[in-house]
């Protein structure tokens, strides 16, 4: 049901763009106005979201410990999975951001006969996740050929490398295949595994269908329906130089492709896709595990409330503790009999 809902939304969006671009004024709306608007929303709300996170205090030092913590000198510390220094944290973050280290540690629980519970390593999510992200990055950077003139050398290098197999004309880009395969896997994973399906929401399916839609329309434009790349570049390059121009030969499928990307940009800051910024602000990843060396001050603390040590506590309540038979570090001072006895003693007279 949730799957169909997400699929329905994406199909409806595609229809909206296809029909809308054919209406009077629709070409300017879908080709110029909405892309600008979406880009502005993307940047402004991305920053707003990060600022919101930056304003949230971290009351505790909560790095996830993925290995042996810093301990006694003869116990080997896992410096990257449980870093205790800034340098270690930087290393951990690099591994996380570029290689998805924590997904690589993914395990799968299985119940065998017995019943016995077994945990095995499960690398598929990591594999397809990383394939997806890097092929998407390559595809996005390749698109710079439509947004720059003169075209930077690294875009030419990507073009060349990506079409390395020289299959057909126009040459097949490997990343197109990898991208579609990886997104399809990520979707099937949610559909096929009952436990993952159970926790999947419309907000999980929607970005996947959106990406599939973007990939499919892009592939159709390049290999099947064929579009006039030169006039498309006049529009896209026009957009970034604030001088957009939509030629007659720019057709419906292009507007569908562009509108899906427009939606992706505008949706990004409000969705789970914000993990792109969030990974950098995750206290479980970006804090050093040094709570035994450095005192973490909770920013919520009321400065007028001073720390109260156990020794101080015992000083306050020692008499009561002794009375109640609780062990104390420091005994009560020996009783000075005289004044107490005097007071207590019944009058002799």
């Amino acid at each position: 049901m949730k799957v169909l809902q997400a699929l329905g939304i994406v199909l409806a969006l595609m229809l909206v763009a296809y029909v809308g671009a054919a209406l009077p004024g629709g070409r300017t709306l879908f080709g110029v106005v909405l892309p600008y608007l979406a880009f502005a929303i993307f940047i402004i709300f991305f920053i707003a979201k990060v600022m919101d996170w930056a304003k949230s205090p971290v009351p505790f030092r909560i790095p996830t410990t993925g290995g042996q913590a810093n301990s006694l000198p003869w116990i080997k510390q896992n410096k990257l999975d449980c870093p205790s220094t800034t340098l270690g944290v930087i290393g951990r973050m690099l591994l996380e951001v570029f290689l998805f280290r924590s997904l690589f540690r993914n395990t799968q629980a299985e119940v065998h006969e017995g019943p016995k519970l077994a945990y095995g390593s499960s690398k598929f999510l990591w594999l397809f996740g990383i394939l997806f992200h890097y092929s998407f990055l390559t595809v996005a950077l390749r698109h710079l050929r439509l947004f720059t003139d003169p075209i930077p050398a690294f875009v030419h290098a990507l073009e060349f490398g990506d079409g390395f197999m020289q299959v057909g004309a126009p040459v097949l880009y490997q990343t197109d295949l990898v991208f579609m395969a990886a997104v399809t896997f990520l979707l099937l994973r949610r559909l096929v595994l009952p436990n993952i399906r159970y926790i999947s929401l419309v907000a999980d399916y929607f970005p996947l269908f959106l990406l599939l839609g973007i990939g499919t329309t892009g592939i159709l434009m390049r290999y099947v329906l064929r579009v006039d790349v030169v006039s498309i570049k006049m529009l896209t390059h026009g957009l970034v130089t604030f001088n957009p121009f939509i030629a007659e030969s720019v057709t419906g499928i292009f507007f569908v492709h562009l509108f899906l990307i427009t939606v992706l940009l505008a949706y990004f800051p409000f969705s789970k896709l914000m993990h792109a910024g969030g990974v950098f602000l995750s206290p479980t990843r970006n804090m050093a595990n040094n709570s035994r060396m450095v005192r973490h001050i909770n920013p919520w603390n009321d400065p007028s409330i001073k720390p109260h040590s156990y020794a101080g506590y015992e000083d306050d309540f020692r008499e009561f503790m002794v009375e109640a038979g609780l062990p104390v570090d420091k005994e009560l001072p020996p009783k000075e009999e005289a004044p107490a006895a005097e007071g207590d003693a019944p009058a002799e007279s």
Binding site: I47, L144, P150, V230
Partner: protein
């Protein structure tokens, strides 16, 4: 706000990266729009010009496979009856006599660099 010293520079880098095409466009001057030279020795291309503009590489691929793999014919006629050779060097480049002033006009603009010329001989450019 916490960790200002790290988050603000991070955001600046982020905005810088996603707006790369904009400031790159401001920093560079774009070349002229492609203006492929029209042939003087013919009036018509081998297919309608809209089709050629978007799909000439598909056509070339078809010719190549047809001729090299299935021994297809090397002769063709345009809609108005002009005969041409179905060949990259002896066909396309017979009417479009300059690679630089025709093919490269668009290809440089769209960052395409067909590997065909690794083997096929380019026409001699007369400036």
């Amino acid at each position: 706000m916490y960790d200002k010293g790290k988050i603000i520079p991070g955001l600046i880098v982020f905005v810088g990266l996603v707006t790369f095409p904009i400031w790159y466009g401001l920093a560079t001057t774009a070349g002229p729009l492609p203006n492929p030279e029209k042939p003087t020795n013919a009036k018509e291309c081998v297919e309608p010009v809209e089709f050629m503009r978007s799909s000439h590489m598909v056509l070339l691929n078809e010719w190549r496979d047809n001729i090299v793999r299935s021994g297809g014919t090397r002769k063709g006629t345009t809609a108005d009856g002009t005969e041409y050779v179905r060949s990259l060097q002896k066909g396309c480049m017979n009417c479009h006599t300059s690679k630089k002033k025709f093919c490269d006009e668009c290809h440089t603009y769209a960052a395409v660099n067909p590997y065909c010329w690794d083997c096929h001989i380019q026409p001699k450019e007369t400036n």
